[in-house]
């Protein structure tokens, strides 16, 4: 199962929460220290910036080391594609041993090193698999389908073992790709149902992810289920988005839409494009669900662009001015309206929530767009906790 010690993962979560309680002065200093000393974990999870550095340097280091080994053991194998595939599998396995060793002995956890190695390993294995199937001289769809079907269990296994968000997302995408290819293979007319199959798939994965996120025994995979939840919401919308449906109809089925004509069920898709983001936002606010709210806000932009694309009068500047004014007015009105909290919703910052760790993203965006500088300080890492690096001493002074 999971590569990391479950007790340590639990301790990490406890220390992470305790840090917030301490920050909000819900518990005393003494109690905070007590919780930290009682829940030690040996994980090495460095700060965001160090993680980026470690990720990049691990990629360079592993690539150069692989290159060196390949160069020394003979660059050219004369076994053709299978030879290359075997080589990739051997190097992938070598890195897999390195990864397991580092997790076990050095307790790396989301440190940049393990992420980099994991992605490289998967990349090597999947490329190796493609090389094997490309030697069979199948037609394109069959070979892609075979590659995806063999890849899927590998990705699922990697998600279970390492609980990585990116890999979980690739499981989802790989699964979709398989469904798409299978529908393509069955017959020409099944393609017409593609949007509806995608919507049904998205609904199933969404409700499954919601259901399993509530299960305490699956808490170590919460990150992975979280990304599936978001991707399902996005997929559901995209499956019915007018632009996507129309493009796919033209590209895949080859129906050419003349002037004055429209795709089948056009009004359904117009309504879907316009309403789904609003539905997401409404349910998000009603059920206090951040994921739905934020996805809905993001998708409003997608819907505006979709309608703009087909019904534009050619005056983007007017759209921008009106859109900007509406957004300004909306924000202004909402901020004033929420000065005193209404319906359990408030404008006050949530002290438990820090976007991107301690990354001052707002200033960063302001500085770049308006030509200033970034103001970033990396010192407080929610994942760092106690243990190796001086425990509570890692607290922020900013």
């Amino acid at each position: 199962m999971i590569a990391y010690s479950k007790t340590h993962l639990d301790n990490l979560a406890i220390v992470h929460e305790a840090k917030k309680w301490h920050h909000n002065t819900l518990i005393t200093d003494q109690k905070y220290q007590e919780i930290i000393t009682n829940h030690k974990h040996p994980f090495y999870s460095p700060n965001f910036f160090v993680r980026i550095g470690l990720f990049v340097f691990t990629l360079i280091c592993a690539s150069a080391a692989n290159g060196l080994i390949m160069a020394m053991t003979g660059i050219i194998d004369n076994n053709g594609e299978t030879g290359i595939a075997i080589r990739l599998f051997v190097h992938g396995s070598l890195m897999l041993f390195a990864l397991e060793f580092l997790i076990k002995e050095k307790n790396i956890f989301k440190s940049g090193i393990d992420d980099a190695l994991l992605y490289m390993i998967l990349g090597y294995f999947i490329t190796g698999i493609s090389f094997i199937f490309s030697s069979y001289e199948l037609d394109e769809i069959n070979s892609l389908l075979l590659i995806s079907i063999v890849t899927l269990p590998i990705l699922i296994a990697a998600t279970i073992r390492y609980s990585d968000r990116m890999v979980a997302a690739s499981v989802f995408i790989c699964m979709l790709f398989i469904i798409f290819l299978v529908m393509n293979k069955i017959s020409e007319s099944t393609k017409l149902f593609l949007p509806f199959v995608a919507m049904i798939t998205a609904s199933i994965t969404y409700f499954l992810s919601i259901k399993y996120r509530k299960k305490d025994s699956l808490r170590y995979w919460d990150n992975s289920l979280w990304i599936i939840e978001i991707l399902s919401l996005l997929l559901f919308y995209l499956a019915g988005n007018y632009y996507i449906v129309r493009t796919l109809t033209e590209e895949l089925i080859g129906i050419y839409i003349n002037e004055g004509e429209d795709i089948p069920m056009a009004y359904f898709f117009y309504a879907f494009t316009a309403l789904i983001p609003l539905v997401y936002i409404f349910i998000g606010l009603k059920n206090k669900n951040k994921i739905l709210l934020r996805t809905g806000l993001l998708l409003i932009a997608a819907s505006v662009i979709t309608f703009k694309y087909y019904f534009s009068l050619g005056h983007h500047e007017i759209t921008m001015t009106i859109g900007g004014s509406i957004m300004l007015a909306l924000a202004w009105f909402s901020i004033n309206y929420l000065k005193t909290p209404k319906h359990g919703i408030t404008y006050t910052k949530d002290t438990d929530e820090n976007i991107l760790g301690n990354f001052d993203s707002e200033t960063l965006v302001l500085a770049q767009t308006f030509g200033g500088t970034h103001h970033v300080q990396g010192d407080n890492n929610p994942e760092m906790g106690g243990g190796k690096f001086g425990g509570g001493g890692a607290d922020s002074s900013f």
Partner: protein, 328 residues
Amino acid sequence: MKIKSILDKLHLESTLNDEEYHKLNQHYNSKLFSVHWELKIILYLGVMLLSTGVGILIYLNIDTIGHTAIVTIIGLASAACFIYSYKNKKPFTWQEVSNDHPFADYILLLGCLLFLSFEGYLQFQYVIFGEHYGLAALIPAVLFFYIAYRYDHKGILSMAITAIGSWLGLTITPLNMLDQDFGTTTIIYTGIILGAVFTSISYVIITKNWKKHFSFTYFNFGMQLLFISTLAGMFTIEYIQLLFFPLLAAICYLAIRYAKKENSFYFLLLAVVYGYIGLTYLFYLILDFLNAFSNADIGIFYLALLYFSLSCAGIIYFFFNYKKILQS
């Protein structure tokens, strides 16, 4: 782990007593749903869209509106922003001033941006500064420095620093710093000197306690300028390029010391990345030198691979043990 089960677990193992347990439960049950960031982002995007849209509208309708009218409108809007800020100003102190009004900072920022357009428009249309481009860049710099200190605005301080840079012919916005035309050596030396000045300021204001919280902004600009100018010198100035290596090493040392003191991993990363680029260039120069004497192509290829794997492993080791290494 869900917060509820964490609380239950801690309660069960009696780390949390009943009172604390109830207090924390209470906290989570009564917690409000915050839409702070969502509204902030909508506000920000609204400002962006509106200002861009109006900008294009004006540009397209310049024939019907007329230049004078536009300049007047921009100037008046800028002045209105400044007047609003002036009326709501707080007393000046050398300490950090917290602003409780959510829009005040934005309005001040908008005023400064409009001032830039105003001045640019005047210069473009009426050439009021003639050939004195330096003066055109210096005016906003001085104004922005004053505003940044008077109203305690870090964003405008950054704009002031950028304006000083452009007065001296340097582009110093974060992502465009590398687009610099380092064709002349003067600009490299200007960059190094300006970087050194900003870095020194950041130290001085900490010791003198003059708006201490501005220190990061100065240090960041100073360091970025120093790093990029030094690397540019290394790459482009022939004959004396080796002199830049000790300089780069010194800057890295400074950045790492600051990183350690302020607990800022951002500068640790900067020092390592720029330092590594310098080191790799030095290695390349050595290989180039070796290659001139012998024709061992494949040997050099091996050497390069060996260099990359060993040096990166060294850096990974450093990141892994930086607390220990830096303490000694």
